[in-house]
Symmetry: C2
Subunit: 514 residues, 2 copies
């Protein structure tokens, strides 16, 4: 066995929620990806988990496991691939910063498995895993700033404007269509797949190892890896494989990635643009995922125009792209009610200056959307698309350096959310020209003494606001969401007036102190 | 007879669409407002118009008329009020700047009766007619700048925050409730009317003459007078009169004001807050208006929360207040389709910094709303609410000095609209991340060579935009809606790219030149 020796955990021990990897040599004749079986069983006091193994190239078969409990475990890896092997290890208490996988908390929020709250502040770098190492390191350097705690990215390479370079590796053995002469000028959303030569029965393990390095790099930074398993931006044919090829791909992905505690499954980005896939296909992939992932990692499917039916039982949370240019995150509370699940806004337009409307809003406007979504009890997502004529490196696709003003404000919002009593916020009833949030689970009108309220004024610019608090003493703080300051404004009771600077993006926080 | 001797028109002649006023002495015994009849008939080659006269105090009865045609007219004023009088006059060609009353043009737009287009760029100063003369002169000085061509204001005085001072005159004989001690602290939307002593059968003509001076001052500046006949902000009981009192008021208002060519009728501001009035009341007022106003002046009724049924036949255009904080003028095209009438956004939040969300948006945001509304073929309205602790003079209510940044941009938009081929714009089909307007009546998709397009990017910040124009040569202009500049960007055909500065509030105008 080869376990993960990270953060000072010694051989043959693994931290709870760490990743255990069993390696075994095996047959190489024929097609090792398809011709042999390989499975492993992990048994501890509190759980027995059976997982699929996978061929990792070079005559090596592997199986991976995440222990959900502390204590002794035994394992056995067996199948037609080669000789059965057994062994044991001890799962010990988690190291600092390891809170376990993220779960849905209550109905609309998230927490880690150790019950500490998790407030998603996601970003998107679709193709960062496919970039040269220098760019990947730039990305990690930005992520070190703690702006985000979730990252969406693709397994398959991406073909799209600003994305005509080939990836560093491809997921299958074979050769790609020539990318010479590709440009925005001749870009089409409906590529034909002539000129590719792939063996869809033989994966390229190095491609998947590169994805795994990304997953681990994110894990090390406390960032969830929201893996986009399929997507439509394709000139290679990965979006147009047969059902059998798709299923083989799904099983390989799950066998390789599922044991990483920070993995989330996004079945697709813009599933509704994948013209070769039917509703039955999506439901079949979901079935594979539910059967093969023993950890019940978070599952979603992201739209372009039309929402998937997020009431489907396998969907853990709604991963949304806005459907309107003007009103979107402001529907958060309605969508919560519609689906009874957490609402994660994974695309609400990006800070930038490209030609497309989805990629050229200001840092102020993106920050405003973050606040509107978060205060309504949903979770907003970041992206950045600034023109870079010299290198054509745009965060939304490649990662690389950040240029925008919103990331620091997003981190500030996260700090505010971390101060929430309980596990999340929700829109208070009775708001009219402000967005008023209270801790979720507290009924605002029935319980005016809920004790914690955030009043957000968005693009409004009030010079003051009046309050009536017949009961209790209330500490008031002025929150400048753009300047990222929290300023005390005294303790008040009864009818009182709080002065404000008459500018945009201000909030007030009221906390009952007695 | 006493005609209007303005702009050099001589005695016994009146310009077409001017106002003719007949005066006659009459009885003063009893109640001259109710005890006698008075009507006048005006006869020319092309029209015979019968109007109600009215008592103007001091033993004088009057009747007013607007000739819709040039040529000879005779008149007769008669009734139980006194002796019949007859006379004649000549209606001559209109003076410069007199284009006649505004009518609905086609389905969704407006033009003057001389067929020249009219693009409403309204503002609201609810109570400006009730202010001391010094404030009224400040208002007129601002209006001289040509920012607006429509003004909404009330006949009845207004009781509301920032509006606790008594009006200069009251509409009825009697005495008002004491206003001492009134403040925002004790303001209520539901005033009781104790302490007032009015004779609702006796008007105060001076109050109405003051309104008429305002109407004429607007007319002199080419500004339509959108008269709000009823409203709910009341501590005097004017919103809670009996049906008989209401009807007497409506007839008096129509008899006095209808002959001014720039009058529009707004039945109410926020009719749905007038708790004492029923749907039957509003329909009865509309019936009076339709019967008594021989000029068919524009008629609307303005909501707070709930739209009136703007499909009612007596309604000439939808006068709307936004129903949502975030998306509002962007519904313009939907509302046009819903009611098949012009859409006038008379309240879309005001530039300012008061505490309320309806009165604290930025000049940038209000200007953006103007462009979004106008390019969708609707007509937006301005208001301004900046705090003024010293004088408590806020444009939205009192008039006075303007402080905001939007008025100059509104005037600029009006200049752009005046360059529209035809009578107005409409949203082009196929827009996604831009608001694209074409001349109304031209089908965009069926006729790509419509020859005139405005592409507006709102809060988007594109660094460039690409176009495909297979046919024709297109002159492109970059319009900075905030800096109020129009800059040539060459003549293009086929596939071409236009650079933009990557900032908000930009538009492109494409005009086919061959």
């Amino acid at each position: 066995m080869r376990d993960i020796k990270r953060k000072g955990v010694t051989m043959n021990t693994i931290e709870r929620w760490g990743m255990v990897e069993i390696s075994a040599p095996g047959k190489t004749q024929g097609n090792p990806f398809t011709d042999y079986t390989c499975a492993a069983t992990f048994t501890g006091k509190n759980e027995t988990v059976v997982v699929d193994g996978f061929y990792d190239g070079g005559g090596t078969y592997k199986a991976r496991f995440m222990p959900s409990f502390e204590g002794e475990y035994t394992y056995e890896i067996s199948g037609t691939f080669g000789e059965t092997r057994t062994g044991s290890f001890t799962a010990v208490s988690p190291t600092e910063g390891n809170h376990g996988p993220v779960r849905v908390a209550g109905q609309f929020h998230f927490c880690y498995e150790d019950a500490s709250p998790y407030y998603p502040m996601g970003t998107t770098c679709y193709a960062w895993a496919h970039q040269p190492e220098a760019v990947r390191q730039q990305t990690l350097k930005e992520l070190d700033q703690g702006y985000f705690n979730k990252m969406r990215f693709c397994v398959f390479p991406k073909h799209y404007i600003h994305n005509f370079r080939d990836p560093v590796t491809f997921p299958y053995e074979g050769t790609p269509v020539d990318n010479a002469g590709l440009s925005e000028e001749n870009f089409s959303y409906q590529a034909d797949f002539e000129g590719n030569h792939w063996d869809f029965t033989r994966f390229n393990p190095e491609h998947f190892r590169r994805i795994e390095r990304c997953i681990v790099d994110l894990m090390d930074r406390g960032i969830e890896a929201d893996i986009i398993v399929m997507h439509p931006y394709d000139r290679w044919g990965f979006s147009a494989m047969t059902p059998e090829q798709d299923d083989q791909y799904w099983k390989y992905v799950v066998a390789r990635f599922a044991a990483y505690r920070n993995v989330w499954w996004s079945l697709a980005n813009e599933y509704d643009l994948m013209v070769k896939k039917t509703l039955a296909d999506w439901e079949r992939y979901a079935k594979i995922l539910c059967e093969k992932d023993p950890y019940r990692r978070l599952r979603s499917i992201h739209n372009c125009i039309h929402f998937y039916d997020h009431s489907r039982p396998w969907i853990t949370h709604a991963s949304l792209q806005r459907q309107d240019l003007y009103r979107h995150v402001e529907y958060t509370d309605e969508y919560r009610t519609r689906w009874g699940k957490p609402v994660v806004w994974d695309e609400i337009a990006y800070e930038g200056n490209i030609d497309m409307g989805w990629g050229n809003i200001s840092g102020q406007e993106l920050t405003r959307r973050f606040w509107e979504a978060a205060l309504r009890g949903g979770y907003p997502g970041h992206g950045e698309t600034f023109m870079d004529p010299e290198h054509d490196i745009l965060w939304w696709s490649h990662g690389g350096p950040l240029h925008g003003e919103s990331p620091a404000r997003i981190r500030f919002l996260h700090e505010i959310l971390q101060q929430t009593p309980g596990h999340g916020l929700r829109l208070a009833q009775g708001s009219f020209d402000e967005t008023v949030a209270v801790p979720d689970g507290v009924h605002f009108l029935a319980s005016p003494a809920s004790g914690y309220e955030i009043h957000y004024y968005g693009f409004g610019r009030p010079s003051f606001r009046d309050f009536i608090k017949p009961e209790g003493q209330w500490q008031v703080e002025v929150v400048d969401t753009w300047e990222m300051t929290v300023t005390g404004a005294g303790v008040h009771t009864g009818k009182f007036r709080i002065p404000l600077p008459g500018k945009e993006y201000m909030a007030l926080r009221l906390t009952r102190v007695e």
